[in-house]
Symmetry: C2
Subunit: 189 residues, 2 copies
Amino acid sequence: MKTITRKEEIIEVAALLFKEKGYSAVSMRDIAAKLNMKAASLYNHIHSKEEILAVLILEVAEAFTQGMETVQNSEISSLDKVVLLIEQHIEITLKHARAMAALNNDWVHLRVDNRNEFVLKRDAYEMNFRKIIQKGISKNEFKPLHPELILFSILSTLRNLHLWHEKRGKLEVNVLKKEMTAVLINGIV
Amino acid sequence: MKTITRKEEIIEVAALLFKEKGYSAVSMRDIAAKLNMKAASLYNHIHSKEEILAVLILEVAEAFTQGMETVQNSEISSLDKVVLLIEQHIEITLKHARAMAALNNDWVHLRVDNRNEFVLKRDAYEMNFRKIIQKGISKNEFKPLHPELILFSILSTLRNLHLWHEKRGKLEVNVLKKEMTAVLINGIV
DNA sequence: GTCTATAGTGGGATAGAC
DNA sequence: GTCTATCCCACTATAGAC
């Protein structure tokens, strides 16, 4: 039995609203209204609007960082590493569905310190992903395309998964993983 | 010699700022400051902040709609249609680079009438794209994957091209078209 | 066409009663 | 832990002088 605190409730509701309208367009009054309370009462549970955003974003960023470490430490081919990263990305997206929009768009509104922490993590993740692709190319596991283009194509698809999954998706997780990997790795023809 | 009006100048600067912080986080003061003027003066050229957003978004939406018509009217295979759509998407992205962020994220802040117009166009575009994919699958030009997943994978990559192109890109257009098509159609292995 | 001044609204956040 | 009341500030937009 997992009990959910008021603070978690606030963050959850806020994430939903951020997803719909973006961080800046959501007011503390909006968040409070969805919880049938007044804006002032929110401040008994959180310190600021920005804190909500920071919790949301940094939690997921940490999950990605952890995942990348696991993958790097496993001794498998570059191709298998990429497959693993794709599957992991799907898992994290499904688990933190509500936070993904903030992660993609609203991180710019973090306070400097939190923003720096996030950007460092994100850049490190991308760099490590790029290295795996480069190694794969040099070992002839991947086609000799620009690594940046491969990285970009995979990441932009995965980073928007949350948009699509709620609208059409609801594919069973394993089917989703399988087909997504197939499309990203082997193409569509 | 193309002369640029003050109105166009305002829209251009606004687009840049919207891209950085999102529509809601950009104030008329911000826009004015970048043009060395006062916010009040903007209103001699535009009627409202929302008008700027509407011009930006609806112009690009129209370009996509036109492009889709051209493709539909050409008598080529489904595969060639998809290739054409990808190339077109790249061209439009490069031409309207500054508007792409608003198109992806800020359309929610359009007034109802403009928002409806946009959503209709976008949905029609996606529906037509989906039909092309479905036909391609039924003719064995594409693998028998979920059409939604193929559509999503292609579109999310293309819709984020603007993010990547400014950061790393600057590939020559034809190289970009060629490699992007290769990745999206044939995969990376 | 740009300015100053300002109206009118709504934002984040705090104080203090209950 | 929630409320009312309120502070102070920033926002969009308008009026009217130059």
